[in-house]
C-alpha cells in the first residue's frame, strides 16, 4: 500500500517538474589554464587529427625570413609593432606605388586591431608574419582633403595611438597637436595621400569618413606581402631587424 502511495507521489512530482522551473541551489565556477604542465594531458586522437595538417603547414611556414634583435609588440601611444608594420608599408609605398599624378604618398595609417600577434626576438618565420597579419587586406592610397586628414589624427588620438609612419605628432586631451607630415607642419588646406588598408578605406573600425576620399588607388599588394618584402630586403642587406621608438606619437606635456 505504501508503495502505491509512493508511485502516485512520484508521478505527481514528475508532472510538477515538467511545468515548473527547477530551483537553483548554487553555482561554482572555475577557469582552467591550458598549458604544458604536469598533469596536463595531450589527447591522442586530437593530436593525430592535427598532425597531417601541421606537417604540411610547417613545411610551408617555418622558413626564416629575418632575425630580430628584440621582441616586437604593440604599445600605446606608440609601439614597436605599429612602427615596424607602418614602416614596412611606407617602404612598400616608396617602392611599389606608381602614382598617376606623379605625387608620392605622404604617410601611412593603420589600426592596432589589425595587428594580431607580436613578433619574437630571434628568428622571424613566415608563420610569425601570418599570425601578425592573417588578413588578406590590401594596401590602398587615398587622396584626401586636409580636413579629413585632421579627422584621422584625432581618431588616432582618441584611440591613444595607432600604427603610423611618415608623421609625428602629440596627443593632448584626446586631440592631435603639433602634427608634422614628412617633417613639414600639417596644412589643413592641402590635399594629402595616405597609405592604408582596404579594410579601413572601406570604413572599417568605424572610419566611415574615409569613404569620403577624393581618389583611391590600389597598390595591388597585400599588407602581409609588404611585411614579407621588408623583412627579406633587410636580410638581403645583411641587417637584423632593429626597431626603436622614435616618438612619432607622444603625449603632450
Amino acid at each position: 500500500m505504501f508503495r502505491k502511495l509512493f508511485i502516485n507521489a512520484f508521478i505527481l512530482l514528475l508532472a510538477a517538474s515538467c511545468s515548473q522551473p527547477l530551483h537553483l541551489l548554487k553555482t561554482e565556477t572555475k577557469n582552467y589554464r591550458i598549458e604544458a604542465a604536469p598533469g596536463s594531458d595531450v589527447d591522442s586522437m586530437t593530436y593525430y587529427r592535427i598532425l597531417p595538417y601541421r606537417e604540411s603547414l610547417t613545411a610551408e611556414m617555418s622558413a626564416v625570413l629575418a632575425v630580430s634583435d628584440q621582441a616586437i609588440d604593440k604599445g600605446q601611444p606608440e609601439g614597436l609593432l605599429g612602427d615596424f608594420v607602418a614602416d614596412a608599408c611606407l617602404s612598400a609605398a616608396r617602392q611599389n606605388y606608381v602614382p598617376a599624378d606623379n605625387i608620392p604618398a605622404d604617410f601611412v595609417f593603420l589600426n592596432n586591431g589589425g595587428l594580431r600577434n607580436a613578433l619574437p626576438k630571434g628568428n622571424i618565420t613566415k608563420g610569425n608574419v601570418f599570425e601578425l597579419m592573417p588578413f588578406e587586406n590590401e594596401l590602398v592610397v587615398l587622396k584626401i582633403k586636409g580636413t579629413l586628414v585632421k579627422k584621422i589624427f584625432n581618431f588616432i588620438a582618441e584611440k591613444d595611438g595607432a600604427p603610423v609612419a611618415g608623421v609625428q605628432f602629440a596627443i593632448k586631451n584626446k586631440e592631435a597637436v603639433n602634427i608634422l607630415i614628412n617633417h613639414q607642419p600639417f596644412d589643413s588646406t592641402k590635399t594629402y595621400k595616405v597609405v592604408t588598408s582596404d579594410y579601413l578605406a572601406n570604413g572599417g573600425d568605424q572610419l566611415s569618413f574615409l569613404k569620403e576620399a577624393n581618389e583611391r588607388e590600389s597598390m595591388n599588394l597585400k599588407v602581409r606581402d609588404a611585411i614579407f618584402r621588408y623583412l627579406q630586403q633587410k636580410t638581403k642587406a645583411g641587417e637584423h631587424i632593429v626597431v626603436k621608438k622614435d616618438e612619432r606619437i607622444s603625449y603632450a606635456r
Binding site: F6, L13, P21, I34, D43, I50, S56, R116, G127
Partner: protein, 316 residues
C-alpha cells in the same frame, strides 16, 4: 572534484527503497526526495579561439607554451568522465589568426570542435573572414549548431544553416541557448558579410530569452554573445546587456578577448543575479560553471511562480 554531486534520476529507485525504510521513523518521503534529488549541470566554454590549434611557441613574447587543442580536448574528456551533464559552448571567432586558417579555411577548427563534442557556437565577426561562402563551405565539418538570433541571413548563402536558439535537456534540466552577434557594419568588410541584416541585439535577446524561459520552460537561459565585455564608449556590450536583461541567467561572451578571472555577477533589470563570463582568447583558458539544481522543491517553486507573474507584468 564531484564529491558533492548527488545522484540524479537514475538512482531514484534506490532512494525510493531507502525512503520506504525510513518512513516508519517519521521522515516525510517528499522532504527526503527534495533533499536528495540534486542535479548538477556543468557548462564548459571558450571564445575567440582564433585558429589556435597548437600551443603558442616557446619564443612567443606573451603566451609561450599556453593553449593547444590536444590539451583542451584531454581536459574536456577528463571532465566528461567525471560529470554526467556537460554542455560545451563557444562564443564565436573560431576562425582566423594562424596559418591553419589561411591554408585550410577553418576546416580543422570545425573538425576539432566536432571531435570535442561542442554543442553550439555563435558566429563572431572573424567567422566571416572568408566570406559567406567560405563559412558555408566549412559547415559539413561542424556537427554542432551555429546559433545567432539577430543576424538575418535570409538573403545570403547561410540561409537555413543557422538557428536563433537551441533547446537542450540534460538530466531533466532544460537549457535554452541563443546567440547574439555584433554589428558588422564598420567592423567587417561588406563584401564578406554580403546581405546579412543586423537586427538590434537587445530586442532579439528580450524576445528569445522570454520565449525560452516562459514558453519553453527552461531552467537555465544562456546567451552566447559576441558583443564584447565592455567599452569606454556607450556601445552595447555584455555589461550593458546584463543590466538590461530579464530572463538570461548566463552570458558567455567574446570579441574583446577579456580574461575574466571568474564570471562577473551583475544584477539584471529586476535585480536578479546574472553571470557574465569570458575566457580571453586563443584557447588559453577553458571556463567552467557548475549549476546545482534542486529537483521537485515544491515550496520554493511556488515562490518562483509568483515572482514570475510579477515579472511578466512588469515586462509589459
Amino acid at each position: 572534484m564531484n564529491g558533492s554531486a548527488m545522484p540524479g534520476r537514475r538512482n531514484f529507485l534506490k532512494t525510493l527503497a531507502g525512503s520506504a525504510a525510513l518512513l516508519g521513523m517519521g521522515a516525510s518521503p517528499l522532504e527526503l526526495l527534495a533533499k536528495q534529488d540534486i542535479e548538477k549541470l556543468t557548462i564548459l566554454h571558450t571564445n575567440d579561439v582564433h585558429s589556435r590549434i597548437d600551443p603558442f611557441p616557446d619564443n612567443d613574447p606573451k603566451y609561450a607554451g599556453l593553449g593547444g587543442t590536444a590539451r583542451r580536448a584531454a581536459l574536456i574528456k577528463k571532465i566528461r568522465a567525471e560529470e554526467k551533464n556537460v554542455l560545451l559552448l563557444d562564443s564565436g571567432d573560431s576562425f582566423q589568426g594562424t596559418p591553419y586558417f589561411n591554408m585550410y579555411g577553418g576546416e580543422l577548427e570545425f573538425k576539432l570542435m566536432s571531435d570535442m563534442g561542442y554543442d553550439a557556437s555563435t558566429i563572431g565577426n572573424h567567422d566571416f573572414d572568408n566570406g559567406m561562402d567560405g563559412l558555408v563551405k566549412q559547415l559539413p565539418n561542424a556537427n554542432f549548431s551555429l546559433l545567432c538570433s539577430n543576424y538575418d541571413f535570409s538573403d545570403t548563402p547561410l540561409n537555413n544553416h543557422t538557428q536563433p536558439y537551441k533547446l537542450f535537456e540534460k538530466g531533466g534540466i532544460r537549457i535554452g541557448v541563443f546567440g547574439i552577434g555584433i554589428e558588422l557594419q564598420g567592423l567587417v568588410d561588406k563584401k564578406l558579410y554580403g546581405n546579412t541584416v543586423y537586427n538590434d541585439p537587445l530586442s532579439k535577446a528580450r524576445y528569445y530569452s522570454h520565449f525560452l524561459k516562459e514558453e519553453k520552460k527552461c531552467d537555465l537561459v544562456i546567451c552566447l554573445s559576441h558583443l564584447g565585455y565592455q567599452y569606454k564608449e556607450q556601445k552595447i556590450s555584455d555589461e550593458i546587456f546584463a543590466g538590461e536583461s530579464e530572463h538570461i541567467d548566463l552570458i558567455l561572451g567574446g570579441h574583446t578577448h577579456t580574461f575574466l578571472d571568474e564570471p562577473v555577477h551583475f544584477k539584471n533589470k529586476n535585480g536578479k543575479e546574472i553571470l557574465v563570463a569570458q575566457v580571453g582568447w586563443a584557447g588559453i583558458k577553458l571556463g567552467r560553471i557548475d549549476y546545482y539544481f534542486e529537483k521537485n522543491s515544491k515550496k520554493k517553486d511556488a515562490v518562483g511562480t509568483s515572482l514570475k507573474i510579477s515579472r511578466k507584468s512588469s515586462a509589459i
